[in-house]
Amino acid sequence: VPEKTKNTSVRRVDSALLSKLHESLRAGDPTATARLFEVIHRPIRRTLRRLHSQASEDQINDATVDAVLSYIKRPEQYRPDKQSLFSYLVMSARGDLRNLLARERRRRLKEILRDDVELLDDGGNNDLETNFIEPADIERSLVNLERLLNDPKDRAMVRLMAAGERSTIRFAEALGIAHLSVDEQRKLVKREKDRVKKWIERHATDPRDDEQ
């Protein structure tokens, strides 16, 4: 965490108030939960937005709610002598947000691979799709993708596809063919996307990738 960001966030949080709320929660004050939500949500969301600019507002909100609820359910897990409550909640929310982002990445990759299945439709044989829905395989494959793709253009293509990009011009820019006519761009982008999709299918679904 950049020092500047860290300090800015901490300065805006009343740590004395958070300590009091922690004590109130442990003492059974029924309003401590609502007060905590009210006091803490903005600083946490602001910090998450800075650190995870790719996350949507919904994902940030969900991660914040998850972190605060986990803490409310088990306040004894927070150790005031180790860190501030704000840092504890931010750390927890970042973990939740990473999980949400990973889930979203897997969903997007599945979409890409499903598109590929449609392209490679072999008349009812859905063995490929069966392989695709294993999250562990897909997660492993995502790690492998970065490692295995040598061509920066391919890496850019995969990044755009995983981000759900649909615009031809963005792909054309990544491929360095933005100067061509729109029709030519479409044709080439489709060809390259198909090639990359086939490559992903091969590398994202084969568990033996890890053994190689």
Binding site: L17, K20, L21, S24, G28, D29, P30, T31, A32, T33, A34, R35, F37, E38, V39, H41, R42, R45, N61, D62, T64, V65, V68, L69
Partner: protein, 132 residues
């Protein structure tokens, strides 16, 4: 401890979302208020009217922990909640008591149904056994 102040629209949206997340959790008042709304067949505006608080007070209320009916300091807890959210103590006590009673009645009815089903089952078993 914390001064009640007007909320921004992003705060309202967030607290609304957080309140939705705990609707099914009896540890939070959101659950009890939702049960009451269902029983009394009233909307949020009606609920605010019953409680004597505004929409912001209702958002805070949902995120408060439910005071337990058996606790010695039940009224003390309700008073704390009322002070923080701006709702009326009597109204909140009535709602909690009502939902508690309805839940107990439902549980009893479910238990009776289970017993009745078990009794029917036991009554049928020897008969079907005799036929074999």
């Amino acid at each position: 401890m914390q001064r009640i102040r007007a909320m921004t629209s992003s705060s309202l949206t967030f607290l609304e979302r957080a309140g939705q997340r705990v609707l099914g959790d009896p540890a939070f008042l959101a659950f009890w208020l939702s049960q009451y709304q269902h029983t009394a067949r009233i909307d949020e505006q009606g609920l605010c009217g019953t409680l004597g608080c505004g929409p912001e007070g209702l958002l805070r209320l949902r995120l408060c922990l439910a005071p337990t009916g058996t606790a010695r300091n039940f009224i003390e807890q309700v008073e704390k909640i009322a002070e923080y959210t701006g709702c009326q103590v009597d109204a909140l006590v009535r709602i909690i008591r009502l939902v508690d009673s309805v839940t107990a009645l439902k549980r009893e009815a479910d238990d009776s149904r289970t017993l009745l089903k078990a009794a029917r089952q036991r009554y049928k078993e020897p008969k079907s056994g005799a036929e074999e």
